[in-house]
């Protein structure tokens, strides 16, 4: 999953529906920013970092099971996608860490 999504949501601050940038740290919501008024809702960073570490632990623990499931269901696609997935992993991790340690 990408860590920044652009969606239309309603804004309590300026009313009406506007584009929002929704940012994630891994699987956790980090912040939302309204493109119309700039209103930002962001999680407390120390709390987000703690939750992120717990989540990473969970992701690592469940990764073998998730990979196995994908191998069984789509062996060819899995084999073809694996090199690409491995290549982009560092960049994904870096993007997550940037959210946690250098609020984008």
């Amino acid at each position: 999953m990408d860590n920044v999504h652009i969606v239309v949501l309603a804004c309590h601050h300026c009313d009406g529906e506007h584009l929002h940038e929704v940012t994630y740290a891994g699987r956790l919501l980090a912040s939302t920013v309204c493109s119309n008024c700039g209103h930002t809702i962001a999680k407390d960073l120390p709390e987000l970092r703690r939750a992120y570490l717990n989540d990473v632990e969970h992701r690592v623990r469940t990764k073998p099971r998730r990979m196995l499931r994908r191998v069984i269901r789509h062996p060819v696609a899995f084999a073809l996608d694996l090199p690409g997935a491995l290549l982009v992993k560092p960049a994904k991790l870096e993007a997550e860490l940037r959210v946690l340690y250098g609020r984008r």
């Binding site: 949501l9 309603a10 939750a51 989540d55």
Partner: protein, 235 residues
């Protein structure tokens, strides 16, 4: 005989430029729409699942289903311009099974309500089996009326409710109501309004749940994640 669950994801919010339909936003590791479908999966009597999508979201929906609900049979139906039209298309998709008497109750749910508790589904389903139809609703406690002189008035507020989903209906009358509405060119605001109008079925109300929010505002996302975390889902 089984029950069918229809999840509406075709009209969830406005879309601008390259923005995404909000029901495909991740929430606690899965997409919002996945949580909404998962709700029906937890109900043993629901044997048919239909997801109504926008045509431009079909590929994304297929990918999400494959990843997040592997092995779960979910039929994809392309929705229409309005909620009513999307519901009708989903019903037409099930029409043959309904005519053959294979589907008893149809549950209709907004994809943008990922937190609906299982208790609500069980109660609307049981009430629809008994009475023909049921919707969840919450009493409106924080609204006030104003009379013509601009004074606070209690008139007309008693018994008003805030309607939620999933809503449940006996499949035969539901399909008949939508056929009749199509012939008339009528488009109801929700499923219940169409059934009431054309089938004269009294719609029963079961208690809703304040946690069953519709993701509309940006802060609803954070609330939804908190509720999922509190309910024991591992984030």
């Amino acid at each position: 005989m089984t029950h069918a669950g229809i999840v509406l994801a075709a009209g969830s919010g406005t879309r601008v430029g390259n923005s995404r339909n909000k029901v495909y936003l991740p929430l606690a590791g899965r997409r919002i729409v996945t949580w909404s479908l998962e709700l029906f999966r937890k109900i043993p009597g629901v044997g048919r699942l239909v997801l109504v999508v926008r045509s431009e979201d079909r590929e994304l929906a297929e990918e999400v289903l494959d990843r997040e609900l592997p092995g779960v049979p979910v039929d994809l139906v392309t929705g229409g311009e309005t909620r009513h039209e999307s519901e009708y298309r989903a019903l037409l998709h099930l029409a043959e099974e309904i005519r053959r008497g294979e589907i008893d109750v149809v549950l209709v749910h907004d994809a943008a309500r990922p937190l609906a508790p299982v208790r609500i589904v069980e109660e609307v389903l049981a009430a629809a089996v008994r009475n023909g139809s049921a919707i969840p609703a919450l009493p409106l406690e924080d609204v006030a009326g104003v009379d013509e002189a601009g004074r606070l008035s209690r008139a007309g507020r008693d018994g008003m409710v805030r309607v939620q989903t999933p809503q449940a209906f006996k499949s035969g009358p539901l399909l008949a109501a939508y056929h009749a509405a199509a012939a008339d060119g009528f488009a109801g605001t929700d499923t219940a309004s169409c059934v009431e109008r054309y089938e004269g079925v009294a719609v029963h109300v079961v208690p809703g749940d304040p946690r069953n929010i519709k993701v509309t505002y940006a802060d609803d996302l954070l609330t939804a994640e908190l509720v999922l975390a509190a309910s024991g889902y591992e984030l």
